[in-house]
């Protein structure tokens, strides 16, 4: 399953998605104005405590953190070597705090809940011709087609290997063309089902062309 969500029933899990996102926005912004190491350290401790409350397995938390850790180390080292070490500690703790918080939301909130929230937040974007209700459909389509395209990619690469083409990125052009051809079929299938027809007449006037 293409999700990093860790199922659970803790208070962190049950907290509505918009509250969590708002909390992150507020705390994340606040963290950038805080310079006191003790306050930042306390903040980090609270975030770590929240992981414990949510009963996140350490392996799951680590898997997410690993992605940014290399960059984090580089940033802190650069700060320490080019500037001073207290500031480097400040930057390191601050980033850990913000990233840890964001990852906690990722781990404790279902994608459906986040998509719902995004759709609600995106409602004002209607003026620009964005259809918030399309977002869910698009995401579903992407998840449906990732395995299909991954299989195609493997197939093209095998065909290349069979013909003795050196492994590299040569499979990309045929893969792109196969993807576009797939889009033809999918486009027709959507059209037949009446999905993505132009907006209902009453909305048409409200659309702004970019």
């Amino acid at each position: 399953m293409l999700s990093l969500y860790q199922p659970g029933t803790s208070p962190v899990h049950r907290c509505p998605a918009w509250v969590k996102l708002l909390a992150m926005l507020v705390l994340g912004t606040a963290a950038f104005f805080l310079t006191d190491l003790r306050v930042l350290g306390a903040g980090l401790a609270v975030v770590i405590g929240a992981y414990a409350v949510a009963r996140i397995p350490i392996a799951a938390a680590w898997k997410l953190l690993r992605g940014v850790l290399v960059m984090l180390v580089i940033v802190v080292l650069a700060q320490g070597l080019l500037g001073d070490w207290p500031t480097a500690a400040q930057v390191g703790i601050r980033l850990l705090l913000v990233i840890g918080l964001a990852n906690l939301i990722t781990l404790t909130t279902t994608q459906t809940a986040i998509v719902d929230t995004v759709e609600r937040i995106a409602t004002p974007l209607r003026v620009f011709g964005v259809r918030p209700d399309r977002i869910g459909l698009l995401i579903a389509l992407v998840f449906r087609f990732i395995p299909v395209i991954a299989t195609e990619a493997a197939r093209v690469r095998e065909a290349h290997e069979a013909r003795g083409v050196r492994p590299g990125l040569s499979y990309l052009a045929p893969l792109v063309i196969r993807t576009l051809r797939m889009a033809d079929g999918l486009g027709e299938a959507l059209e037949v089902r009446g999905v993505g027809e132009d907006d209902p007449p009453r909305r048409r006037g409200a659309r702004v062309r970019g």
């Binding site: 999700s3 992605g67 940014v68 960059m71 700060q79 992407v142 990309l172 052009a173 959507l190």
Partner: protein, 191 residues
């Protein structure tokens, strides 16, 4: 938005995710590992055009934000976006947009060189202009001037990626043209 557009946007985003699944390639003489994912940014703009390319990459950023492990290395989540390299991810739609606009303008006489230029401006420069200040801001007190050099590390990889992407854009233009050229006299293109 026509059904075909929805299909193209969704499938290209899926392709972008698949590019993230491919292993990192460590090329000799290149300091930073080479991933095919930023190549997808150039392809989105250069093959789908500015509007659909932007939408496709915006959808990709949204997927990252909602916690789909679609970035290289099977990671994702808001932490990646708020992290030091988050600016580069946020820049993806804008990179695709700029590449798309240039390709649309140069479409009738598009060749390898113009495709390369469009890809480099959108897929490397735009990413750099948005991502680098972000990196420096997030990592605080290092001054902007001190941080500039760090991009040089990515330059050789970016040049190779753009070269590959330009080749694909030109090939796909012949095999499967999707872009309506943008006229300089600014006639609104037919929907």
């Amino acid at each position: 938005m026509r059904p075909k557009d929805i299909a193209l946007i969704a499938l290209f985003t899926a392709l972008m995710c698949v590019l993230g699944l491919t292993p990192r390639i460590q090329l000799p003489l290149l300091p930073a590992p080479f991933t095919a994912q930023t190549l997808g940014v150039i392809l989105a703009g250069g093959i789908l055009g500015a509007r659909r390319g932007f939408a496709s990459m915006a959808l990709f950023v949204l997927l990252v934000a909602i916690g789909a492990p679609v970035l290289v290395g099977g990671v994702g989540g808001l932490g990646m976006i708020l992290g030091p390299t988050g600016g580069f991810i946020i820049a993806y739609p804008f990179g695709a947009l700029v590449t798309g606009l240039l390709i649309e303008r140069w479409w009738p006489k598009l060749n390898y060189l113009t495709a390369f230029l469009a890809g480099f401006i959108g897929g490397a420069l735009v990413l750099y202009v948005i991502g680098q200040p972000w990196l420096i801001t997030v990592s605080a007190k290092v001054s902007l001037a001190d941080g500039w050099w760090s991009w040089i590390v990515y330059l050789p990889g970016d040049l190779i990626k753009t070269a590959i992407a330009a080749g694909i854009i030109v090939t796909v233009k012949k095999a499967y043209p999707l872009i309506t050229p943008r006229r300089t006299d600014a006639t609104p293109a037919a929907a």
